[in-house]
Symmetry: D2
Subunit: 337 residues, 4 copies
Amino acid sequence: MIIVFEPSAKHEQIQHVFDRLIEWGFNPVLQEGEATSIAITGDTSSLKSETLEAFDGVQKAVRLTQPYKLVAREFKPEGTIIDIDGVKIGGKHFTMIAGPCSAESEAQLLTTAHAVKNAGGKILRAGIYKPRTSPYEFQGIGEKGLPWLKKAKEQTGLPVCTEVMDPKVLDKVKDVVDIYQVGARNMQNYDLLRELGKSKKPVLLKRGLSATLKELLLAAEYIMSSGNHDVMLCERGIRTYETATRFTLDVGAVPVLRHDTHLPIIVDPSHPAGKRALVGALAKAGLAAGADGLIVETHPDPERAWSDAAQQLTFDQFGQLMTELRPIATAVGRTMD
Amino acid sequence: MIIVFEPSAKHEQIQHVFDRLIEWGFNPVLQEGEATSIAITGDTSSLKSETLEAFDGVQKAVRLTQPYKLVAREFKPEGTIIDIDGVKIGGKHFTMIAGPCSAESEAQLLTTAHAVKNAGGKILRAGIYKPRTSPYEFQGIGEKGLPWLKKAKEQTGLPVCTEVMDPKVLDKVKDVVDIYQVGARNMQNYDLLRELGKSKKPVLLKRGLSATLKELLLAAEYIMSSGNHDVMLCERGIRTYETATRFTLDVGAVPVLRHDTHLPIIVDPSHPAGKRALVGALAKAGLAAGADGLIVETHPDPERAWSDAAQQLTFDQFGQLMTELRPIATAVGRTMD
Amino acid sequence: MIIVFEPSAKHEQIQHVFDRLIEWGFNPVLQEGEATSIAITGDTSSLKSETLEAFDGVQKAVRLTQPYKLVAREFKPEGTIIDIDGVKIGGKHFTMIAGPCSAESEAQLLTTAHAVKNAGGKILRAGIYKPRTSPYEFQGIGEKGLPWLKKAKEQTGLPVCTEVMDPKVLDKVKDVVDIYQVGARNMQNYDLLRELGKSKKPVLLKRGLSATLKELLLAAEYIMSSGNHDVMLCERGIRTYETATRFTLDVGAVPVLRHDTHLPIIVDPSHPAGKRALVGALAKAGLAAGADGLIVETHPDPERAWSDAAQQLTFDQFGQLMTELRPIATAVGRTMD
Amino acid sequence: MIIVFEPSAKHEQIQHVFDRLIEWGFNPVLQEGEATSIAITGDTSSLKSETLEAFDGVQKAVRLTQPYKLVAREFKPEGTIIDIDGVKIGGKHFTMIAGPCSAESEAQLLTTAHAVKNAGGKILRAGIYKPRTSPYEFQGIGEKGLPWLKKAKEQTGLPVCTEVMDPKVLDKVKDVVDIYQVGARNMQNYDLLRELGKSKKPVLLKRGLSATLKELLLAAEYIMSSGNHDVMLCERGIRTYETATRFTLDVGAVPVLRHDTHLPIIVDPSHPAGKRALVGALAKAGLAAGADGLIVETHPDPERAWSDAAQQLTFDQFGQLMTELRPIATAVGRTMD
């Protein structure tokens, strides 16, 4: 930690900070240069830069180390590969997760599961609990959908990924669900993160819609520090001023996360696109940028879907996308099989 | 709802949308003008514009009515005044809510409660459950702080406001807490909102850090549609590219919300400021813009505070702020007594 | 400047940076602590942090000093007061600049000038060159409006403020115009800034719609370093994801700029409001937050205005606003006379 | 244009808008439905939605047609291919534009030109006029660099692209420069756009750092409506709250622009990356998303570059990038030859 003082800082102000650091048990070193500063050596992880910036005369306090540990690339340089009954996420694999936004009926789900499987998808996604902006919208089929998920899994062999919002439901769904998804709205629902940290199943953690990558990594740190190291990070678009797309896919997040963390990185092209005509371009961009997989919405009859109708692909479109992705995967040294 | 077609839309595409609307039981009317469009008369609240924008050939679908009902100004033109044991929020009142970020000890809390009361504050705030970005930061004192809150209330008569994140704690805190605060990270935690909707106590609902005002109103609609009409909306700064302040106080939210809803509006100047030197200017701006009250952090010894050290005011600074706010309140026709 | 290395940085990488700094004539000091870092003492203003962050193994490079000089509060601690024929901006004065978005006719301009004067406005604003997003919109009346501005000034005694975009017009307008306005789109038009720096007239410099406050100060530094020290900074709303207002007024910019610079600060409530019903609340917020003045659009018949129709106030509304601002000005220790 | 009224709008307010539209020569039709609205048939391109939203009782006014004409896909459905002495941009071609941020010396420029040519680059970029945030930074070599550009072109045959900021320099550079670049800061410098519209050379128009895609298209419309139809649009990252990258590459802009306009689309991966280690991933994402070309910075010795040192690639890195791009280009049906 380096504490930089303003040019106008008085001697007493600098002394006051110095004394407080001594009181707190740190080891401050005063430095004169362009600006007066105090360097603190030793472990400062318990000290927040904001705290130091609150002192009169302080211009800024700069942390020299990252606030996270377990998620850091240094912790596991070789990169994490998650294995779900033989389906791998990470390494040279490029893994397609696909399925409907919401489970609507047994038939709809089974049809989709087979279509995903046939096109080369490796994991089935389907929501049964749906967070919705308005209380008057469809809120998900709930527990009623669990047997459908189970059947889809039995028939296709695809592991199942579904969003959970309330820790209370974990017990109910744990025998069916293989990957717990944390939605963007719940990225900082810390009670949920801690409960998932105690579970034994992989977690797909979506970036909050205005979360920084550092905050995403700290959310993953909540899960890992509670005991669960199988976390996938998901870039799904951030909120910006541009309204031509539903969200702005931050494709630069992929190489940044690759550098900072050993965890696998998934891109969701459906939510930032908002419209199915834009999904393909974003999917290809995510793959080319280095993502370990995609999570894509597809539905037997998108125009009649109960949620996210505009962005779900038809099976034909999904199959076409898979066909277009394969040569790109090869070009960037990935396997989709 | 108006559905506008692209200039290049084919006749079959337009017919397809038309037919689908008939199938769904709506009453579409085709219009030719600058652009071809379909107007739908009658109730379209079950129809999402995104759904319609998914059809080929559609340029955009524009909803003519707001998606919320109970929070709308039309529902209660005269404006809501919340009354908590005689402390009023709304109308001509300008109500100061103040206290420490976190309850740290009985002494710290009682000292602060008296300081708030003496300076003219009307409601005591203090966090016992703290959502923190990092798992390694102080997570709040928890239930241990409840007796302190109770004692502070008994000694000063100030109603107590505290943040709740987990519906499970409502039973534990309900005998002590007068106002449930929903933090920015939980604005779209719908399970929590529904539970608070079933409670009988006022809710202070903070705007999510990248929530639109429409989303804030829909979050309030969740609470109201579950049965609780005593909701205060709180503008606490949004996330933008500017880093000179911790968040950007969207002071324009005050007149916009005043027009759109009957609910009282509170401004939090502490979190957008991030530094105590900036709190005063934002507090005055909030009052002048028409807010019904402020929620401000103050602490007996901010430099040693366990959380949000940089933005908490000393008691002297808080007293000074109250002195500066009074003549402005008078100037804008508000009473602080 | 402090250069912080990544935990994984190799010895050779650190040595390489060290050697390069020596080669460039700097005085680097290696420091071991939580992280390895290099501090550079002496003047580093010619060195960019980005340059250093480009070296392999560097995590970040942190500048300890601000990149601007003449605009800094340290350069002139007592604050700049600009005096235009007796009209003062800065100090205890709160100065209203008002007038139509565009000069449309002699009658329209003269009527407005008298209305502004009668209501207590101190400076007349009116655009004759208009930057417009679409080439098919009204582009301003041009030089034809100069005699109108001159007449308005003669009749009312109000100094005149108008936007300039092209340095070529300075010669044409300099005998009539008292304040050159730089619009948000031109905040980083450096040729223009330098030309204005050579002029002798005050400049009202608007913040670019996604400019940081640091960039705004550096734009002012362009003008000051070219010789003109009479610069006013204008906060006029920034672009964010929120569309309920045209732009988001960053009211926190006022106290931040007050701390960082000695230059006067003007708030434009009209452009962020976008609608006249919201202008009053933003105007009051700007005053209460500590601005030295406002720039407000008013028009004899806003519904028929040729530009910015939605946000211009009627004369009645402008008069009403002035009446409402006076007691607030008194409450915050400002004079409007 | 559809004008939607608030539920609380009074009859007189609606009548007032109706009468005003008649007065202005439009053809309004009153519609009752969920909400009262007025549809205007016929050409409304002279009418701004903001103007209508200024009337009391109006909730919103929705334009049914786009404000631009010449840039629209409808104007030229087959897509524009720009041809510069045989180098093509658009269609099936994927065109690499590369070179140093700034021309620094004849040797530096010539070396780079040959390296670009050898690696398969088709156009040379190099800045001689540099817009810089601070007045104390290197402002470009100026006219002195023109003979270097000329020599580089003669030796390699590569057309030359350089940024122009001031219309006055067009005469000086026109014999050497093949493509005029408009930088992000000047996207709305309308005097410049109009002058470029009168020139006969292709223009590479960069998106402003908080410009919407609609504003980018309108800026291109300025150029086209002045007579020059050879415009390339360049996505170069937008400003968001995320600071892990210098800007956020809005890769979704590529498919959106592809749909809306016939103009070629270039992606600049260097500026959003900000660091050379991130350039490759963004370059590949741009190609995979469907861009017609890239503009990339490369320098013989980036660590010693006079500007943008952190993001310029070494020649080895540039060659490596070209090698990695080729198979992706093939995979998406593009040719780089």
